[in-house]
């Protein structure tokens, strides 16, 4: 095994934050591969600061390194200053663990969590010295594979990925390791095609090159067909049945330099059945699988002791829903070993006074700010998106927060939602303004921060058929909010760049024809597109135009029920007719309560895998209103708004 360290070392003092390239984290391995073992380079295609905390990669890092027939190391996208040095000096992409060149690994495995990192994936493959197009790779080149939420529509990256993994990675990495190990042992029998055909037999693994895509005259997909009889027509996602069997990461990495989410993270459950219709994570990770409270307690106390962190996040898509959350939180805060210095953070707090009560209890040590996500400004809009929070819930939560001593409250909203009117948009301002007023009763230094993102429809959600708002429309709506927010003292408005939302929309629902576009943007220098100083919409628009592709058609067009979507040959376990019905319910402004505590809607997530929600408590959590104990019929519905999607928003304001 070689190392690029001596080549790299003299240049590190000349780049920004060199500590991100040295490894040495607590929990890092310097594995030595046994003869015939499969070596994985786990790659997050963005900076170390963003990528290191990724729990998915950390879990796989441990699981693979526990095997006798596998080793795993890690890498992240080098920042542009180091990339320039690497290209000038001929230094290839390397692992941070042993500084081994990337091309010496058998598998380059990428986590894809954001569309705007796609060009970084190409850049990392190229820096590794591996051909970016899968078709140009030879048997001795590493396999380029990807997992993560974006892989539910991997089609825009089909030209570049050898294989794609859908769903939970814990079990499937072992199966992939075995296939690659046996292929290597066979002298790489059948060449690259040999191993790809074998991988296509592994449930949850999709090999894009083994499928033929045919297009109709109208530009939509006519059919996606396997090229061989043994290749499955539809690839189902992988789901682990019991989180308790996977208490990972056991040895969370503790970096030497500052990263995002720099704290102990303990996943308390996976999956979500709140049913927020805009939320891809909530749809594709079903069913709900809770970790036993006792295991959570052990992972927290051992993790804090091992890492020296003074903060632990209990992670999930809605942590306040965890059965017995109060007892778990109390146990952490009152643990004598914590000396009163450990703070607990609960990302994705539900919006109600109950959660503020928990927050008050756990943030004794460190009281920063509280974040709520009402997502939309009016009850009508929240019924459309199935985020069933009533205004009283929000005001109750905010009132409780200010009464308990918080001075800063952050609110998350989406704009550009299906059927959204200006009244809905401006409702965001109304909610935020009222929160400022509530705060004034308790403190003069009230700060309410409203963060607004342009809605990007995602595959495998009920909104996958919805035409995204145009750039002009999103900018107009943000303008409305900005004008209004200026007049409210104590209210700060921030927003996600609608230009970035446009590219996210293009990639999230794009098809294979976008491959050359991504490649061109990358070749013209378009890396680190998540970073505003590197992002350029013009580069994307030019690449689309150069390849004769219509941005409007891809991003802003409403899809019909019978259209073959680019990801229809993949499955997140959800029945397509469930999603379509939920889309129709959305347009009819009909909310859908959480199925953990109501009868099954047959979305397909449980029945398809023969498993059920693993929930310790059969009763809904106390105080919750978001689809838990709430009687929807008594909700004060805004009857003046038509119950169907208005055509004006389909063809008028949106286009």
């Amino acid at each position: 095994m070689s190392s690029v360290w001596t080549q790299l070392e003299p240049h590190l003092a000349g780049v920004e934050r060199p500590a991100r390239y040295i490894g040495l984290e607590l929990g890092a391995r310097r594995p030595t591969a046994a003869e015939g073992a499969v070596s994985w380079l786990l790659t997050y295609p963005d900076t170390y600061e963003i990528g290191l905390p990724n729990q998915g990669l950390q879990i796989l890092y441990e699981i693979l390194n526990e095997r006798d027939d596998a080793v795993a190391e890690r890498t992240y996208a080098p920042w542009s200053d180091l990339e320039a040095v690497m290209r000038r000096e001929g230094i290839p992409l390397f692992s941070v663990d042993t500084h081994r060149p990337a091309h010496e690994f058998d598998v380059l495995a990428f986590n894809l969590s954001a569309e705007l990192t796609y060009t970084n994936l190409l850049n990392c493959v190229d820096l590794a010295g591996v051909p970016v197009r899968a078709a140009d790779r030879r048997p001795e080149h590493p396999l380029v594979v990807a997992g993560g939420h974006c892989t539910y529509n991997p089609e825009p990256l089909a030209d570049f990925l050898d294989a794609v993994v859908l769903g939970d990675g814990e079990e499937v990495v072992a199966e992939i390791t075995e296939v690659v190990r046996d292929w290597k042992a066979s002298g790489r029998a059948g060449g690259r095609d040999g191993v790809l055909r074998a991988l296509a037999q592994v449930p949850g693994v999709y090999v894009p090159s083994l499928y033929e895509v045919a297009y109709g005259d109208d530009g939509t997909i006519a059919a996606v067909t396997p090229r061989h009889p043994d290749v499955p027509e539809r690839v189902e996602k992988r789901t682990i049945a019991d989180l308790a069997e996977w208490p990972y990461p056991r040895r969370q990495l503790v970096p030497l330099t500052e990263v995002v989410h720099d704290r102990l993270n303990v996943e308390v459950f996976r999956g979500c059945t709140r049913g927020c219709r805009f939320c891809q994570a909530g749809m594709i990770t079903r069913p709900v699988r809770e970790r036993p409270a006792e295991q959570v307690r052990t992972m927290v106390s051992e993790g804090l002791r091992r890492t020296g962190y003074d903060e632990v996040a209990l992670t999930s898509l809605s942590t306040a829903d965890f059965s017995g959350i109060e007892e778990v939180v109390e146990g952490i805060v009152d643990d004598p070993a914590a000396c009163g210095q450990v703070s607990v953070s609960l990302p994705s707090l539900r919006v109600d006074a109950f959660t503020v009560g928990i927050a008050t209890q756990i943030q004794k040590a460190r009281r920063t700010g509280l974040t709520f996500a009402p997502e939309a400004g009016t009850w009508r809009m929240r019924q459309v998106i199935n985020k069933l929070i009533r205004e009283d819930d929000l005001y109750g939560a905010v009132e409780a927060a200010f009464a308990s001593g918080w001075r800063r409250v952050k609110l998350y909203f989406l704009t550009g939602l299906p059927s959204e009117t200006d009244e809905d948009t401006l409702g965001i301002l109304e909610l935020a303004r009222n929160c400022v007023e509530l705060g004034r009763r308790h403190t003069r230094n009230v700060s309410v921060k409203a963060s607004v993102g342009g809605f990007v429809p995602k595959p495998f959600t009920p909104f996958q058929w919805f035409g995204q708002n145009t750039l002009e429309e999103l900018e107009r709506k943000i303008g409305l909010l900005r004008d209004g927010a200026r007049k409210v003292k104590g209210l700060q408005l921030t927003w996600h760049d609608p230009k970035a939302s446009l590219v996210e929309g293009l990639l999230s629902r794009g098809d294979r024809r976008l491959g050359p576009v991504i490649e061109q943007v990358w070749r013209e220098g378009g890396t680190f597109q998540e970073w505003s100083e590197h992002f350029s919409l013009d580069r994307w628009l030019k690449a689309m135009a150069d390849h004769g592709l219509d941005v409007d058609w891809y991003v802003h067009r409403h899809r019909t029920e019978d259209e073959v979507l680019p990801w229809d040959h993949l499955s997140a376990g959800l029945h397509r007719d469930f999603l379509w019905q939920d889309w129709q319910d959305a347009l009819a402004e009909v909310g859908l309560p959480d199925c953990r505590w109501t009868p099954c809607y047959d979305c397909g997530a449980c029945t398809g895998y023969g498993i059920e929600h693993v929930v310790a408590s059969t009763t809904p959590p106390a105080g919750g209103s978001q689809g838990t104990g709430q009687d929807l019929s008594t909700a004060d519905r805004v009857t003046s708004v038509p119950v169907v999607l208005r055509t004006s928003s389909l063809t008028g304001a949106d286009r």
Binding site: E9, L24, R305, G308, R367
Partner: protein
């Protein structure tokens, strides 16, 4: 572990609060030298918690461990003499000071090693106050000893050595000659280790410099820039931090004559 007597308080300085404190001397070498001063502070916070040292915290909404570092070491420099003061939340006689190094060793990353831990008497001034100068090992790349010696001689003979630096957004030129307390050419280096910059020949010339830290610290790169701006610094190691005691200069925590290895003989962390 040597139980060196604590240095005497400098005259005319306000004593710090009553919290009992430990003073830790440590080294920073190898890959870990690329961590920043801020990074090192966080590494220590976690290491102290991992080792279950009963550290004191600040009051208020955002309590932080009460740690106090000496003069920041630039990212990329190595050191054989770094210091850190740790406030405790328990009286000193509750802590087995001699056991602290062994507790900390497994809690620190490769390349950061505890050399000594002493208990500080109450009222002892801070590291920032007591340290008056530092000794540095500096290597200048792709130059022979005679070239370097000529430059050094010119600099030492000069009555003034003006250097233009940025200070709080303003460009300031001042004379750094008084901050050079000692400067010697050690000789040629045939293979640069722990490099800060590439060399064409792989060779360098080593210098040893004692530079004042008060009223304003002169950094090794600033020294070299003042001597000859074309010289390239390819390695820097801090060897000592000095304080004044009874009119004489002494190391803040002296490890004894044999305890400080020469910079070329140290155990590499990478």
């Amino acid at each position: 572990m040597s139980e060196a007597p604590a240095p005497h308080a400098a005259e005319g300085r306000e004593p710090r609060g009553p919290a009992p404190r430990l003073r830790i001397r440590y080294s920073k070498q190898g890959k870990v030298r690329f961590t920043s001063h801020r990074d090192v502070a966080r590494i220590w916070e976690r290491a102290l918690r991992r080792a279950q040292i009963p550290i004191a915290y600040t009051e208020g909404f955002a309590p932080r461990p009460k740690l106090s570092f000496g003069l920041a070491l630039s990212t990329g420099y190595e050191s054989l003499g770094e210091y850190l003061d740790v406030a405790l939340r328990v009286p000193l006689d509750h802590v087995a000071v001699e056991q602290v190094p062994a507790l900390l060793a497994p809690a620190l990353p490769a390349g950061i090693e505890v050399q000594s831990v002493v208990a500080l008497p109450p009222g002892e001034p801070s590291l920032q106050q007591v340290v008056t100068s530092c000794t540095w090992h500096i290597e200048v790349g792709d130059l022979g000893p005679s070239d370097v010696a000529a430059g050094v001689a010119r600099a030492l003979e000069a009555t003034e050595l003006p250097l233009t630096r940025e200070r709080k957004g303003q460009t300031v030129t001042d004379d750094v000659r008084p901050a050079i307390l000692d400067l010697q050419v050690l000789g040629p280096v045939t293979e640069v280790v722990a490099p800060l910059a590439p060399t064409a020949t792989g060779t360098a010339t080593a210098l040893r410099a004692e530079l004042a830290t008060q009223p304003r610290a002169l950094r090794p790169t600033e020294l070299i820039a003042a001597i000859d701006p074309t010289w390239v610094v390819v390695r820097v190691t801090r060897l000592h931090q000095w304080t004044q005691a009874g009119g004489a200069r002494r190391e803040v925590i002296d490890l004894g004559p044999a305890a400080t290895p020469p910079p070329h003989a140290e155990r590499r962390a990478s």
